[in-house]
């Protein structure tokens, strides 16, 4: 008997992206296996946010291919030819992916509950009662059920971020992207959000990609760490290796700076 071959759920294949003359992603290649928890670390401006935004289709790429769950993200096959994706294709692909933003981006004119029910009702035709039941379960899970009828403006940063996580989960994506979701929080609120992430990591089989500057969290949480520098992956491996025994000189310098800044790893 042979091992069943599992295909990656994300495949980034020679992707390049520039802003004007500045190349943010340089011929980038990596794959993510289903259920894998991946941490993206690296210095500021190295392209970590850009790659997450690209996977969410908030950015377009200049060249290369991205495959998600077996299908091209920015291309589609038509009459046996690969052509640029149309809006309908992007819409289908986005259903597989959810994203949580650094600055929450909750809908300020909707209650907490409405923030979570809106997308399932609009995009999946879920009935209001069912959407609310599901939303309350998710809010319960992130510890926000008590605030279901509050407006986002009345919440702390940590609470907003937990609602934002529930909102993304409501669409049941196979892949979740987290872009520095604790960076905008007061230090005492970081842990409540990290706890929710830990729970998602252990209790779901979602594929999770997170960009973070919380090295000790990345160490405990991730199956694999990608170290980005100037639009490239310089080094990758299990957290035990990357954090305790980095091979590349740039990774070593980066981690030294982090430790000098007072973080434990």
């Amino acid at each position: 008997m042979t091992e069943p071959i599992i295909d990656p759920i994300i495949n980034v294949d020679h992707v390049t992206k520039s802003y004007g003359s500045f190349t943010v992603l340089k011929d980038l290649c990596f794959s993510v296996m289903p259920g894998e928890k991946l941490a993206l670390i690296g210095p500021s401006g190295s392209g970590k946010t850009t790659i997450l935004r690209t996977l969410m289709t908030l950015e377009r790429i200049d060249s290369g291919f991205v495959r998600v769950d077996g299908d091209y993200l920015f291309h589609m096959e038509r009459n046996g030819r690969v052509v640029p994706a149309d809006e309908a294709h992007l819409h289908r692909m986005r259903a597989k992916i959810g994203m949580v933003f650094q600055l929450f981006n909750l809908f300020p004119h909707k209650t907490v509950l409405e923030n979570v029910t809106l997308a399932p009702m609009l995009t999946k035709g879920v009935r209001a009662a069912e959407a609310q039941r599901r939303a309350m379960e998710l809010l319960e899970m992130v510890g926000m059920a008590g605030k279901a009828n509050s407006m986002p403006a009345a919440l702390s940063g940590g609470q907003k971020q937990r609602v934002a996580i529930a909102r993304a989960l409501a669409l049941q994506p196979r892949i979740m992207l987290f872009d520095e979701v604790t960076s905008a929080l007061d230090p005492e609120l970081v842990e409540e959000v990290l706890n929710v992430m830990r729970m998602l990591g252990t209790q779901t089989d979602m594929t999770m990609l997170l960009v973070t500057h919380e090295m000790s969290f990345a160490h405990d949480f991730a199956d694999r760490v990608l170290f980005f520098d100037r639009g490239r992956i310089v080094e990758e491996g299990p957290p035990g290796e990357i954090f305790t025994n980095p091979r590349h000189e740039r990774t070593q310098t980066f981690l030294k700076k982090i430790i000098a800044a007072g973080q434990r790893i």
Binding site: E87, L106, L118, A168
Partner: protein
């Protein structure tokens, strides 16, 4: 010249008939201006350059020509092309489309002020473009615009006497015919002023109330 209360009582019903038409023209014109103004604002953002350029030109053209000329055009010129409009219809279209060009600017500013993160969150939630406009962008963009829109509503209201030029029997034209018939201008013209002022004074706080109601989330 003596103020004559008996004359006031006599002409009041006729003036109030005129006021009804004035208010009707303003309300219909406002609705049209808001809808067409929003359409102008959206079309100007179209990724299709031909659509956005044409809209921009049309808006500039309408804003750059006098409302009175546009009214004459709608009412006296269009029939030559076989398009016959009643005076009130021509008046409402003229007022509405003219003010739509100003309101488009208000909508544009309001839409541009909606944070980029809201568009991105809508996309991450997999909403379509139409759903994003309907449920995310416009409900946030419109409440802060209400004071500016309200100013235009009041300005439109005060411009309705222009409609008398195309035979709409609104407040001003009623007052003028009463005055011409009786050779007395004091009471009719004073009452026109008072009625306009009264409606403006009621409308402005009412619109502000509306704004606060919509902004419950702030």
């Amino acid at each position: 010249m003596e103020w004559d209360w008996a004359f006031v009582r006599e002409i009041m019903p006729t003036l109030l008939d005129g006021l009804k038409i004035t208010v009707l023209a303003t309300v219909l014109g406002s609705v049209l201006a808001a809808v067409v103004g929003l359409a102008f604002a959206l079309l100007r953002r179209s990724p299709n350059r031909l659509v956005s350029r044409t809209t921009a030109f049309l808006v500039e053209f309408i804003r750059g020509t006098p409302l009175l000329v546009q009214l004459y055009f709608l009412f006296y010129v269009l029939p030559g092309a076989g398009i016959l409009l009643s005076p009130l219809t021509a008046g409402v279209i003229g007022l509405g489309v003219h003010y739509a060009t100003y309101m488009a600017e208000v909508f544009r500013a309001g839409i541009d002020n909606t944070p980029r993160g809201q568009w991105e969150a809508a996309k991450a939630c997999n909403l379509t473009a139409v759903q994003t406009w309907q449920h995310i962008i416009l409900p946030q963009a419109i409440p802060p615009m209400i004071p500016a829109l309200a100013n235009y509503f009041v300005a439109m209201f005060k411009e309705t006497p222009l409609l008398s030029a195309i035979t709409v029997v609104e407040l001003m034209s009623q007052a003028r015919s009463i005055a011409n018939f009786n050779y007395r201008y004091l009471e009719p013209m004073t009452l026109v002023g008072v009625l306009f002022l009264a409606i403006s004074l009621i409308a402005v706080p009412a619109l502000h109330l509306l704004e606060r109601r919509f902004r419950r989330y702030r």
